[in-house]
């Protein structure tokens, strides 16, 4: 009997941890300015997907507007063509005190904005963007967006560093 309890005590957390690892975890890391509070919030993607499924559909759908219907196919085509294109720097803007760079590296589009005091880095897998864009209509659902984060595993999607040392990062594991 004790043996069964021990097996259960080990197996249940192991299966739970394995499931979470298999489906992914989003970790939000917030460091307040000047050595303030430090928060680390891990959110299992499976949990976020389940939660999104319970929220009324009209609350989780983002309507993109009438014009979007015309231009979403353009965005899909451009992203698909970009996915197949060679890697390289797509945009670079340099002004006094500000630099912006947009690069394509493999499946990743990396955006970097540096304005002297603040540094912002965003990395979005093209496959994620394609998964989020609706194939028809103009509505993006939250559960679809959460599910699409599976494409961004092991990616620091956002990293913002402020002038006083504050830092926010969102990483998908």
């Amino acid at each position: 009997m004790l043996k069964m309890v021990l097996i259960g005590a080990v197996a249940v957390p192991a299966i739970a941890a394995g499931s979470v690892a298999a489906t992914g975890v989003v970790v939000v890391n917030v460091q307040e300015a000047r050595g303030g509070h430090h928060f680390v919030v891990p959110v299992p993607l499976a949990l976020a997907q389940v939660a999104a499924a319970f929220v009324p559909e009209n609350k989780t759908r983002l309507h993109l507007g009438r014009d979007a219907e015309k231009y979403l196919p353009v965005a899909r085509q451009v992203l698909s063509a970009l996915a197949e294109a060679e890697d390289g720097e797509l945009v670079r803007v340099e002004e006094p005190g500000q630099k912006v760079s947009v690069r394509k590296e493999g499946d990743m589009v990396r955006v970097s904005v540096d304005d002297g005091d603040e540094h912002v880095k965003v990395q979005v897998p093209i496959s994620l963007a394609l998964a989020v864009l609706p194939s028809s209509g103009t509505q993006v659902s939250a559960s679809q967006a959460v599910f699409a984060l599976q494409h961004a595993r092991l990616t620091e999607v956002v990293n913002v560093q402020g002038k006083d040392g504050e830092q926010v990062s969102v990483t998908v594991y």
């Binding site: 015309k70 231009y71 196919p73 353009v74 899909r76 085509q77 451009v78 698909s80 063509a81 970009l82 197949e84 294109a85 060679e86 890697d87 390289g88 720097e89 797509l90 945009v91 670079r92 803007v93 340099e94 002004e95 006094p96």
Partner: protein, 186 residues
Amino acid sequence: MRVRTLGLAGVLALMVAAPVRSEAPRGRAWVHIRVDESNRQSKVSVNLPISVVDAALQAAPEDIMSNGHIHLGRMGKHELSVSDLRKAWNEMKATGDAEFATVEEEDQKVRIARAGNLMLIHVEKPNGAESVRVEVPVEVVDALFSGQGEELNFRAGIAELQKRRGDIVRVHDDHSTVRIWIDEGN
């Protein structure tokens, strides 16, 4: 003048290209745009694979473009139409190398000519203060005018662009330079 030339450069970036060498391209073509504004100490670079530009044109909404053709209709107070331009182009093409227009005014000199397989549009201001140089391969213009009626065939123009390498547009004035070119580098 500056706004006009920058606008012209932008439009032509999607329409035309000038060959520097004539052999068949080996890799995939990229369109490069560089805008340097010395007074603002600003530099902007845009590099796009032509396949991406082509994809955008293919999926462009029908009210902008239909099957790769753009409908322009008549424009301006002089009722200049695409079909009129097509007729004029066919006449100009048949004449071979020629100076089609040279306008010399106090503040600028404009020259439109054909040299070999290039259409040249050069605008220059005195003392090199400002200049625009557009060099358009004849094949690209032909491809653009291969549409019917009031339509320009952008897809055919883009298909011709994929074969081109070298400068398309160069604009410079007191405070800025614009260069648009195509090569295989990214």
